[in-house]
């Protein structure tokens, strides 16, 4: 074996410059791959965190008819909170906090402009423990009084109303009656989650209850776990209780993340396109280099074959060379990519000013961070190796198909 490794490396080093040039696309391709995937993963994590911190918590208990794409005005299907469910949530060892929400859609008007909004009636204390939202209110608030409204910063831009002005929130009661409530503006909500900032307003849950005539019914209980990875264990624990109430169901944050997951799969698709392109570019380069060296070494190979080297030995030799080029290149790419990945993961890129007005459908923070994932780097490196092997098969195959006598001439 040592003999062949030695031979392969000596052959690779025969044309150092050419080998370097061959490796370049693989090196940069691998590095780019790691970098971009890390970035996408970072975006993904950000949006998942955004979803959980501001929108979905870890889990929601909702009415069976709760629908993500409910249209029109009015309150989401509301339900009474069973006492044993509440007791369970208060005592479960998995639960960090839980908060009731009344969720309804309506029109928010300042008398001049009217905007469709999603309104959440919440209790300040419980909600603050379950979500980060109320910590992102400017100016900061320490409570959510009756009669006040907090407005997503992007909605607020539509109104340009002074602090302390009155908004009219118009919706339909639980029974469907057209009604409106006057609420005074108390702050704007800037979470970085576009769904919240662009569409959501917050009010006291008691206001919402009275306004919608719900008699203490609610739309959802959001549950935050002490440890998000306990989700499945918690679901198993809560299931028997939910089963008792056929009007209720559980939705985990992942189900609420369908948009993100859709983007996720689009992302996976585009990254596989990227991988494919790198594979082609790198592979063609390596195949070309191996093919060149095959033709240059035709007589040498003929000699080896005359001495009794089998076809498989010759193929292995070239594949080993290709794999080595691919591996070394991929390893270099891995190192470069990992350095870049470490940078964007631990330092981050400040894109605050850059993307303020760009709508990419993702919540964007001003400092963007990638995800540091060594496994990703190894996978990319492994790819380089595969490319090298795949690309050298054809040239090697070509040479063993040649007539020995002719190659010796």
């Amino acid at each position: 074996m040592n003999y062949w490794i030695n031979l392969a490396f000596k052959n690779i080093l025969r044309k150092k410059q050419r080998t370097m040039l061959t490796m370049l696309p693989v090196v940069f391709g691998t590095a780019m791959l790691i970098f971009v995937l890390s970035m996408l993963e970072g975006v993904n994590n950000d949006s998942k965190a955004n979803l959980r911190n501001y929108d979905s918590a870890d889990l929601k208990i909702v009415s069976r008819d709760f629908s993500l794409d409910k249209k029109g005005f009015g309150v989401q299907e509301a339900f009474y909170v069973p006492e044993d469910l509440e007791n369970f949530l208060n005592s479960s060892k998995f639960v960090k906090a839980h908060a009731k929400e009344v969720i309804f859609s309506g029109n928010l008007s300042d008398g001049t402009n009217k905007m469709a909004v999603i309104c959440r009636g919440v209790d300040f204390e419980a909600y603050s423990k379950t979500f980060l939202t109320l910590a992102k209110v400017y100016p900061p608030v320490l409570e959510l009084d009756k009669g006040v409204i907090l407005i997503g910063e992007d909605i607020f831009k539509w109104y340009e109303m002074p602090y302390d002005s009155v908004f009219i929130l118009q919706s339909r009661t639980g029974g469907g009656t057209f009604d409106a409530i006057d609420l005074s503006y108390d702050g704007l909500v800037a979470t970085g989650n576009p769904k919240i900032d662009r569409t959501t307003v917050y009010m006291n849950i008691k206001d919402a209850d009275e306004f919608l005539n719900l008699n203490s019914r609610i739309s959802a209980i959001a549950v935050k776990l002490k440890n998000p990875s306990d989700l499945n264990r918690f679901i198993n624990e809560i299931k028997p209780i939910i089963k008792k109430y056929p009007e209720l169901k559980l939705i985990s944050w992942e189900e609420l993340a369908v948009d993100i997951i859709a983007i996720d799969s689009a992302k996976k698709y585009s990254s596989s396109v990227m991988i494919f392109i790198i594979l082609i570019i790198g592979g063609v380069g390596i195949a070309n280099t191996i093919l060149l060296s095959v033709y240059e070494r035709m007589k040498e190979i003929g000699t080896m074959r005359a001495m009794g080297a089998s076809n498989s030995t010759i193929v292995k030799m070239f594949v080993f060379e290709g794999a080595s080029v691919g591996f070394v290149a991929a390893a270099m790419g891995m190192i470069l990519g990992t350095v870049l990945m470490a940078y964007i993961s631990f330092v981050g890129i400040d894109i605050g000013g850059m993307v303020q007005d760009i709508d990419i459908g993702y919540p964007i923070k001003s400092v963007f961070r990638g995800q540091f994932d060594l496994l990703l780097a190894f996978r990319a490196g492994f790819f380089g190796l595969i490319i090298g092997i795949a690309a050298s098969f054809y040239p090697a195959y070509r040479v063993v198909k040649e007539n020995i006598v002719r190659t010796l001439r």
Binding site: F73, N113, R172, T177, F178, A180, I181
Partner: protein, 239 residues
């Protein structure tokens, strides 16, 4: 003597005025508003800050449970038909090639993107059943104040200013439970036909939005030609 005369006058006036009970007013208004066997050609104009739109439609009303509306022209080019049959409402969009049942929250939405909700034109229940009604009057109007008594009433609070001479509401005001005026319907014009007063121009103002209103004018009204029953079928809707 003078004093007695004035007392008698006041009593007469009182008797004359209270001669109209709430039911009387509602009945007279209903006679003008509810139509049977009517064909209209009407134009609806929707004004808003985002731009104005208009559409022309033909409406066939057999009675309150059989209504067919055909949009024959609209500024957006979209054509559609809709049928009210008993309590169900169907919308047919020819380009989609099928009809959908309008139900639930959709009923609360604006009819053809206007400020009228489907509910505004589809409510079959008697006002008495939905609202607690009180009557006041001044020299020009009977003022009906309607407070929702069921949780599924279309509006929380509604005031209707019925013209004493025509028995048509000059204006209807929609309030929130906290007495904020949210929208108003205004009958701008009407004419007398076959002994009833038929509105010919109606306005609906959304007061939560600047310069946002819908205007409905009836260009042709035919109360005599018999409409075939076949018009009020799903088959005709989807033809």
């Amino acid at each position: 003597m003078k004093k007695i005369f004035s007392v008698v006058f006041l009593i007469t006036l009182y008797l004359a005025s209270s001669a109209m009970s709430i039911d009387d007013v509602l009945e007279r208004v209903e006679k003008n508003m509810v139509r049977t066997n009517a064909t209209y050609l009407s134009t609806m104009k929707i004004f808003s800050e985002d731009g104005d739109r208009s559409m022309q439609m033909k409406m066939y009303v057999k009675d309150e449970k059989n209504v067919l509306v055909e949009v024959i022209e609209s500024s957006e080019g979209g054509k559609s038909r809709f049928l009210k049959k008993n309590d169900a409402m169907w919308l047919f969009i020819p380009s989609a090639g099928r009809s959908v049942l309008i139900k639930g929250h959709m009923l609360k939405e604006g009819f053809m993107g206007s400020n009228f909700s489907y509910e505004d034109i589809s409510e079959n229940r008697k006002l008495r059943d939905i609202y607690e009604i009180t009557l006041e009057e001044d020299s020009l109007y009977y003022i009906l104040t309607m407070k929702a008594k069921t949780d599924d009433a279309p509006y929380k609070l509604k005031k209707s200013y019925v013209m004493k001479d025509a028995f048509l509401p000059k204006k209807e005001e929609i309030y929130s439970s906290s007495n904020r005026l949210l929208k108003e319907f205004i009958i701008e014009d009407y004419k007398e036909m076959n002994g009833i007063n038929v509105p010919t121009r109606i306005l609906m103002n959304d007061l939560l939005q600047k310069e946002n209103y819908t205007e409905m004018t009836y260009d042709k009204i035919d109360l005599t030609t018999k409409i075939p029953d076949s018009y009020f079928t799903k088959a005709y809707l989807e033809r």
